[in-house]
């Protein structure tokens, strides 16, 4: 599940799919701002430390203040007082090799945690990047590996991945090697723009795209534009979900919308969308 633009409804729809599906493993790959757990209520079974990029540390007792490290750092992470800014340090180690006094070392830092949890809907692989840490792509890869291992062990042939917004490193890590990418878009100008870029991304990695238009009735003209664009490009539009405050109400109740209000048109549309996704996957 991806979107390009944030806030189009990826997590809402992923959670409902988890409710409707059978024999799945769920992965939340939005590691910097994970929200899926608020709807699926995982019970953590296993926690794993995630070591992100290393951090350069200067031993002031050895440092002769020559400034070579500062001049060599391409990330501007070492200031005039030779203090290292942990937010800018990428842990590359250039300062370590240029230091004539061997005063600098790279130290490991715990950048977050990966979890394996039990939910009512299946086992869930998820994570939490510490706020402000780098390398979310690597943590996404760990979440994916964990999900894969669970799926193999439990003999599940479907992994449902809630991806992050954007098209950069954590998104690339989320979609690499998947069988299909469902782009959740919305009927806004920004939604259309970001859909185009998300489709280009899937195309770049040769992944079959599916499209779902959320809040389609907020602008029917834009919805028509998306539908005809997808038709012209042979992209299957698997769902059109209307805007309804029930989605927020379900979120407040901590439930998936299909569970909270199964009779509501939103839930019914999500159910139809899920059926179409499954049939598209079976054709692959």
């Amino acid at each position: 599940m991806l979107s390009g633009k944030g806030g189009t409804g990826k997590t809402t729809i992923t959670a409902s799919f988890a409710e409707l599906a059978h024999d799945i493993v769920i992965a939340d790959c939005d590691v910097d701002a994970p929200d899926l757990h608020m709807l699926l209520h995982p019970e953590i079974m296993k926690t794993q430390e995630f070591k992100g990029p290393k951090l350069a540390v200067i031993d002031r007792t050895k440092c002769i203040e020559c400034g070579l490290c500062q001049n060599s750092c391409r990330f501007g992470a070492i200031n005039a007082n030779l203090k290292i800014d942990p937010f800018s340090c990428e842990g590359c180690g250039v300062c370590v090799i240029v230091c004539p006094e061997e005063a600098i070392t790279l130290q490991e830092r715990i950048s977050g945690y990966a979890f394996i949890s039990k939910t009512k809907y299946g086992t869930m692989s998820h994570a939490r990047l510490n706020p402000g840490e780098a390398n979310s792509g690597k943590l996404v890869t760990l979440v994916r590996q964990n999900a894969r291992q669970i799926a193999e062990k439990e003999i599940c042939n479907l992994i449902l991945i809630d991806g992050p917004p954007g098209i950069g490193c954590p998104v690339i890590a989320s979609v690499t090697g998947v069988d299909a990418g469902l782009i959740v878009t919305e009927a806004t100008m920004s939604g259309i723009h970001d859909l185009h870029r998300a489709l280009q991304l899937l195309n770049h990695f040769k992944i079959s795209p599916l499209v779902c238009i959320n809040k389609y009735d907020i602008n029917r003209e834009n919805t028509e534009k998306i539908v005809s664009f997808c038709e012209n490009n042979k992209v299957y539009v698997v769902g059109r979900i209307p805007f309804d405050p029930i989605v927020t109400e379900a979120m407040v109740a901590g439930k998936t919308v299909v569970k909270h209000s199964p009779e509501n048109v939103v839930s019914q549309e999500i159910e139809n969308t899920w059926k179409r996704v499954l049939s598209a996957l079976n054709k692959e």
Partner: protein, 275 residues
């Protein structure tokens, strides 16, 4: 003064706030640092006066000089280089352009070349100087493009920075150096959860901030309780109105059709400058 706009959760209305605020104030510089999905220009439709490519430096190995000793791959913390007895394999998507491989190579077999990873574009519209970046599709690293956008900051101007969603490196790079950060959230469990993450980030970066609650009226009151309990200032509320949502969907900034909001954004700006 540099004001950045961030959120944690995507789709809370960062770009909408950034653009409407810029239109209320004029004579500002607006930097769209969401280089993965830049949207501010869609709402402003500026004429683009300048486009320039953004490059990163990547190693270029001279196989004639290389004796495949493997020092470069041993050094590389990002596993961007892999040395076989016959060949050096390089994975540009993993390279952070630190230049270390060039330094450690005992045969001086490594030089650098440029790789284009995106564009920055500039244009002026309604007195607003818009600068935005566009990461090439398939390129993983947004930070170098964001850095390039931020190099265009004019220190004598009021600068508004529209940051990407999330709470990791692209967000840090966008908000770093801001005098104030506006966190745009919504009164829902997801909005509150991701707001808390961003508050933690800003605390570590030591940037003062206030919260705009967008789509006020939906969801629940927990975000208000949280802000009150933690002493977090709510600097503005934008009610949920179908009209605002529809205008946004058509790419129209709401202050254009609802000019009474300009005054609110002007007052907000004065308030922030007071801080």
């Amino acid at each position: 003064m540099i004001i950045s706009i961030a959120s944690g959760k995507g789709g809370t209305g960062k770009t909408s706030v950034a653009v409407n605020m810029a239109l209320s104030f004029k004579d500002v510089q607006l930097l769209d640092c969401d280089v993965e999905e830049p949207n501010a220009y869609l709402l402003l439709q500026p004429k683009i006066d300048e486009t320039k490519p953004v490059y990163i430096s990547i190693p270029l190995v001279d196989e004639e000089l290389c004796d495949h000793c493997g020092r470069c791959s041993e050094f590389c913390e990002f596993n961007a280089l892999f040395v076989t007895p016959e060949k050096v394999l390089f994975f540009p998507e993993l390279c952070h352009s630190c230049g270390g491989c060039m330094i450690v190579c005992p045969k001086n077999a490594i030089t650098e070349k440029n790789l284009e990873i995106g564009l920055i574009k500039k244009g002026v519209v309604e007195g607003i100087e818009l600068v935005y970046g566009e990461l090439n599709v398939g390129e993983p690293m947004a930070v170098p493009v964001i850095k390039e956008v931020k190099k265009q900051i004019k220190s004598n101007k009021t600068v508004i920075i529209d940051s990407p969603p999330g709470a990791s490196c692209p967000v840090i790079e966008s908000v770093l150096g801001s005098d104030y950060c506006i966190l745009v959230s919504e009164p829902t469990p997801f909005g509150l959860h991701d707001l808390k993450i961003m508050i933690q980030v800003l605390g570590e970066l030591n940037i003062p901030f206030g919260v705009i609650i967008n789509r006020a009226g939906i969801g629940d009151r927990k975000i208000y309780d949280f802000c009150e309990e933690k002493g977090v200032r709510i600097i503005l509320e934008i009610p949920f109105q179908r009209k605002i949502a529809e205008l946004y969907s058509s790419g129209i900034p709401f202050v254009v059709e609802m000019p009474e909001w300009k005054r609110k954004f002007q007052l907000l700006m004065e308030d922030i400058k007071g801080v």
